[in-house]
Amino acid sequence: MTDTMALALAAVLMAAAPLILATLGETLTEKAGVINLSLDGSILLAAMTAFAVAVTFDSPWLGMLGGMAVGAAIAGLLGVIGIFLGQSQLAVGFILTLLARDLAYFLGHSFSRQPGPDLGLWTIPGLGEVALIGPVFGSRSPVVHLSLVAVFLCWWWMYRTEAGIRLRAVGESPRAAFGRGIRVRLVRLWYCLAGGALVGMAGAAYSLAVKPGWGRPQGCEGAGWIALAIVIFGGWHPVRAALGAVLFAALQVSGIYLQDIFPSIPAPVFQVAPFPMMILTLLAVNMGRVGWIQDLVRRHPLLKRFSRGWSFDPPAALGQDFDPRKGL
């Protein structure tokens, strides 16, 4: 029984790993006030690049670096056009996502359906024997470990370092940040690049671990859009966003199990079900905005205490451009 549970949990974490990486990347970027809508295309192009590099040099880790570089490059393009040239981040992001997708299929054609290396499994010595966590983490793909470490690092960076304060400051009020001597546009570009690299890592995680190989379709199509939704679901907080990614993966994986239990229900139902489930969850999480629930919370001290610090507000300056030459 515990083995089945461990297996299911491991499957969930595996499916969640690239989603976690992509949501973390977008959370970083949006927390700095920039919306990067190119996620879906970036993931695809990064997945292709990662696989192509891994095949060519026979090194999956070099492949992952390649994927990260591609993700960062696309985000950098968006950053320069959106932040420094003052164009609409939304429009540029949309175009980039379409461009990157077509580019991925076109350039990746020769690598289609080819065998290639993958990231394999990491066996952490001694961990396998530990009760409960052993079967889940003992011998798993490194992307699982990477994604979980990334959650901690992102949280630590955002909420426990000076750089993290600056990151949130430029996303909250670029004017005030400028007044404090922060180079707003540079900071924003930097987190565009960092976020893009994480998104690229998500792409590499697909083609080198979760759904190894390249082809059309690769299997990661749509992941970028769901990651964008999960960022909102997570209220722009790295840990909550990661939980959202795990929840979505759990819904997907449970569909596989449920299919066996209810063979009479058509399979597509289980494939589509996670999407409306996410919308319902989003509604439940954001109940605090509804008037009568606010009244209820105010009347009950316990609920009131629980609701404190439970903010789902977007960064106040999300998507707004800022030009220091125009002054305050």
């Binding site: 007044g179 008037g291 606010q294």
Partner: protein
């Protein structure tokens, strides 16, 4: 010593600063006065490094530069405090305090905040979010932060808007102490002459982008007004008494508005149950610090915030829910302080605004525009102008002209926000006309003098509740100020309420 030489700042064709030269010496308090749009704020932003001048030089203790950056200004000890504090409401106090300062640990920041708070008689909980503070506290936090950064030249842009008279007293004492004992330079940007006369060692008068006079004590108030407003000032100066306030209906007349045990609830807090009533023709001013409840009161009355309990009676009709469209049809009209953001459509023309507000008149729109906006409200703009291109005064004129004549209850947030003295007078004279015709006005202004000057009764809010309602005869700055600061109404009003 700081010397500004021949500073020009042009925004397109607008010359916000047109050749300003200025010397600031340590240990002195300067007041920079002038009407809205005279260029005071622009000049101070240049000095704080928040905006680059088009031309001119800035001399800081021997070093001459063409422009400053915020970092450079800080290195030379220049710090600026904005009217709307330039901070990060969603972030904790200690992070706000630390941003822009040299590297320190969280513990050190806590210690510094505690130490400075003790010295300046303030109290801050460093882990709380800045959004939980009042405007006055946010200003004080900014002041603490600037002092911690070693600021020796402090620029304060309209620092007394939205704080109580008592807080103002404390702030002025603190500034006086900083100037006299610690040799700081203080620049007070203000449009209130009384503050300038009270505090300043020198008053710099700005008009149309230039410094037109530098006055030193003993001051002649008449001369100051003359310098500020030019020749037109003598007949109608800034502080000239407004037109006579209209008389409200008799006490035994049926009330326009009655609230019975009304509870109001906004996104952040709720308040009540409240009892309140207002007569036709009455002007009721709301006084209170930011977030004390007056905003929720106005928004709840018109249906923008919820009314979960109680009965609202308007002209004899009782309502237990406050549905915005229903109340609007019954004659309740709300005019927000954020005109462009909340009340107008920035990209639509004036003609389109009129067409939207008066749907039945589409065939004779231009004639109607002429009679309604131009002749009645003195709105001198072409009907094809977009709302976003209007000045603050014209925006307010447009908004007032869009309110139908049968409006029974006018709810106004800061009716004269951002208006120059002339436009403000015009707005008030129009509002008085409305009251004379029988409308009831309930308004809020962060400027206590404005509230006192135009109210038959003043409703004071404190700590998210209506603390007291004071008659005109007893509503003095001291009484209302004490109530705003949370003094017991029974004590302040002698138990007579």
């Amino acid at each position: 010593m700081i010397v500004l030489q021949d500073i020009h700042k042009h925004y397109g064709r607008v010359r916000a600063n047109d050749g300003v030269s200025l010397t600031l010496e340590p240990g002195r308090i300067y007041a920079l006065v002038g009407e809205n749009g005279a260029g005071k704020s622009t000049l101070m932003r240049v000095l704080a490094g928040h905006t680059r001048p088009t031309s001119g030089t800035i001399d800081l203790g021997g070093r001459t530069v063409a422009f400053l950056t915020p970092t450079l200004a800080r290195e030379h000890g220049v710090g600026m405090l904005y009217q709307d504090p330039l901070d990060f409401p969603a972030m904790p106090i200690w992070e706000n305090f630390q941003l822009g300062a040299p590297k320190r640990t969280k513990g050190q920041v806590f210690d510094v905040i505690g130490e400075l708070s003790y010295r300046l008689d303030a109290c801050f909980l460093p882990d709380e979010a800045v959004s939980s503070l009042t405007v006055g506290e946010r200003q004080l936090l900014e002041l603490l932060r600037l002092l911690d950064l070693g600021a020796t030249t402090l620029i304060l842009d309209e620092p007394t808007t939205g704080i109580t008279p008592e807080q103002k007293r404390e702030l002025f004492d603190l500034l006086m102490k900083l100037a006299r004992e610690e040799n700081h330079t203080i620049v007070l940007v203000t449009h209130k002459l009384s503050e300038a006369l009270e505090m300043a060692d020198a008053i710099l008068v700005m008009r149309q982008g230039a410094i037109v006079a530098t006055l030193t004590p003993p001051y002649d108030e008449g001369e100051l007004v003359l310098r500020m407003f030019g020749d037109a000032a003598e007949s109608e100066g800034a502080d000239a008494p407004g037109p006579a306030t209209p008389r409200p209906a008799a006490l035994d007349a049926p009330p326009r508005l009655r609230l019975d045990n009304v509870v109001m609830a906004g996104p952040k807090y709720s308040m009540g149950p409240m009892r309140f009533s207002a007569r036709p023709g009455e002007c009721i001013g709301l006084a209170g610090l930011d977030g004390s409840g007056q905003e929720l009161f106005l928004r709840g009355l018109c249906g923008l915030d919820r009314m979960p309990g109680g009965t609202l009676t308007l002209d004899g009709r009782a309502y237990t829910t406050n549905d915005f469209p229903v109340l609007r049809r019954a004659g309740v009209h709300f005019v927000p302080a954020d005109r462009l953001e909340m009340a107008l459509f920035p990209a639509l023309t004036l003609r389109e605004h009129i067409a939207l507000a008066f749907p039945g008149r589409s065939d004779e729109l231009d004639a109607f525009y002429q009679s309604q906006c131009v002749e009645r409200f003195n709105l001198r703009a072409h009907p094809q102008t977009r709302a976003s291109e209007l000045s603050g005064g014209n925006q307010q004129r447009l908004l007032l002209s869009l309110i139908p004549d049968h409006a029974a209850l006018l709810l106004m947030e800061h009716p004269t926000r951002g208006l120059d003295a002339g436009s403000a007078r015009q707005v008030w004279s129009h509002l008085h006309d409305r009251c004379r015709a029988g409308a009831t006005l309930i308004f809020f202004s962060p400027d206590l003098d404005e509230v006192l000057a135009h109210s038959h009764r003043v409703a004071v809010f404190y700590d998210r509740a209506m603390a007291a309602v004071v008659d005109r005869a007893r509503a003095t700055t001291e009484v209302v100020g004490a109530l705003m600061a949370g003094k017991d109404p029974d004590q302040v009003l002698g138990g007579g309420q």
